[in-house]
Symmetry: none
Subunit: 177 residues, 4 copies
DNA sequence: TATGAATGAGGATTCATTCAT
DNA sequence: CATGAATGAATCCTCATTCAT
């Protein structure tokens, strides 16, 4: 791929994230093109269908989150890393920096997203080994809570205080009694 | 309003709930009319815009939930009523019996929904008085968790086991240490 | 169907015939709407896809031709009726009064067009019984020649003289030696 | 023109014939480029518009047919050469080996195609001199019948038997009584 | 009031053509 | 000269909304 094409691809992805986060996944592809500063044809050259574009955003997001989770698993304090990660994701959602709406679609099914699940799974295991999370908790419900609260923060527009208080409850629920 | 008009209004609301729950809020108004057995013009006579129709469904839902909450507040065990209610809402969402997607839109703003908030607030207060919920927990985060988990159950299609395990965490987080 | 709707349907069909004959079957549906004096949505309400519209024109044409053939079979001179009909079809094609382009699509397959085939078959049989057409000639090649010459007259714009001379050859080929 | 450019031109023409015959003349130029193994820009460098490309194919076809006709005129039996040529063209059309769709566009107008007309004219003259074709038959209707039956064989997909029977009628019509 | 036909803006997608690399 | 990315007009189709019947 040529340099300018790669640059455009990135611009389109960035614009798409903004647009779809702001207006939901039925915002128009035209709007994405406008925000990216390219013609509509360019969007479709890079992503042959609108769905491909949405999938690409999802993949990007999953990769980014997986990276963050892996870093924390490698470097962070096992007792707090999961909570740090969790809060960070919700924070990003609230800041419209990510596309949480897409998180709850097929997240357990799509093999492309397995990496992210694995990374978060590692955080969970380490937190449990450190005694920071109850042994009975499984990855499934952690993912469920993560997507649910991220989506809430994003769509319902929870303010900072509400986010904190809500996560307090969730984290308390995860900790051993 | 004439009797047949009132009957039509009810038919339309019922059809709209079915349709929007089944196909998301961008199902067509035509589809609602078809399911209700009326012509499209009749739908728009009762609800001048599609948004009005969605709002009416939301109101209906809020009223129904408020009723359930009030009943539980009046008759239920203060220590468990909130949890019972909470689980019931999530269960309805999972069973597509309600329109949770709409719950997180303006739920604190819309004065029409105040009643529901109040009813749930009463459940919370009583649970705290009974020592079943930590004193520091506020209604805002309870609502946040309720909408977030309901939406998750609905959209992401959590199965019964996952719903239970997820709510276990939330409820543990609400209880005193 | 309401009276105005029926009127519009007819206007659309007429416009479509004109447009598709003039510009080929990839003329735009917009153009048809414009020519019919209705909005684009009206065209699609009557014919949900462009293909449905093309099919409807074809059906209309087939019905009209079947009617003409039946009339001639009932009333005309057996020895000349087939030739009269044949020449009439080619003449209509030349006058852009019909949509010959569509004739050669699936004409033997589509059951809706069977009627027309049958009517022309009757003409052929009677012509053979009257000794005006060789016994060995089958309906298939008559249809083939009919569509081929009609399409030629339409698309290649044969003038009157050329049409006559071309049909002279064909008719001579059909007659007994 | 450089050697590689000439080679590209040929590759493009060959690919275009394949593509347009297979998918009709509204196949995309991209598809032609892909089949030719060149970039889209190269196609447009050689043929500034899609129409130019179609015209070039037509010219090629006309030249090839003219060649065949000339060979037959020089070497063949005058009494059968025209029929042989005629049947050969229809056969090629049926075998998708040529682009008959284009034959009926401006075939009398375009001076580039005069050669082909002349060659077929020679076949006709010789056939008439040999007494194999009626004296009154003119080149125009022979061309008309040729294009009409070729187009029919191509587009309507006449099978071998139907082609034979149809040409039998045409040839009978051309012969003296 | 109910009906359902008409409207027309909007949206996804395609493709001939241009032009920077 | 070749490449292939970018352009943007054009096309099919959908759907909220209006309005004649």
């Amino acid at each position: 791929m040529r340099a300018d094409a790669k640059r455009n691809r990135a611009k389109i992805l960035a614009a798409a994230e903004e647009v779809f986060v702001a207006a939901g996944s039925d915002a128009s592809t035209e709007e994405v093109a406008r925000r990216a500063g390219v013609a509509i044809g360019t969007v479709f050259r890079h992503f042959p269908t609108k769905n491909d574009l949405l999938a690409a955003i999802m993949k990007e997001l999953a990769d980014r989150l997986a990276g963050e989770a892996e870093t924390l698993a490698a470097e962070g304090d096992p007792a707090t890393a999961l909570f740090t990660f969790f809060a960070g994701v919700v924070e990003q959602a609230a800041g419209r920096k990510t596309v949480v709406e897409l998180l709850d679609v097929d997240i357990r099914v799509d093999s492309q997203l397995q990496t992210m699940r694995d990374a978060i799974g590692a955080l969970l295991t380490r937190a449990q080994q450190a005694g920071a999370v109850r042994a009975g908790v499984r990855l499934d419900e952690v993912m469920a809570l993560l997507t649910a609260t991220s989506a809430g923060a994003l769509r319902a527009g929870w303010d900072r205080d509400l986010r904190t208080r809500t996560l307090d409850v969730v984290f308390a629920g995860l900790r051993p009694r």
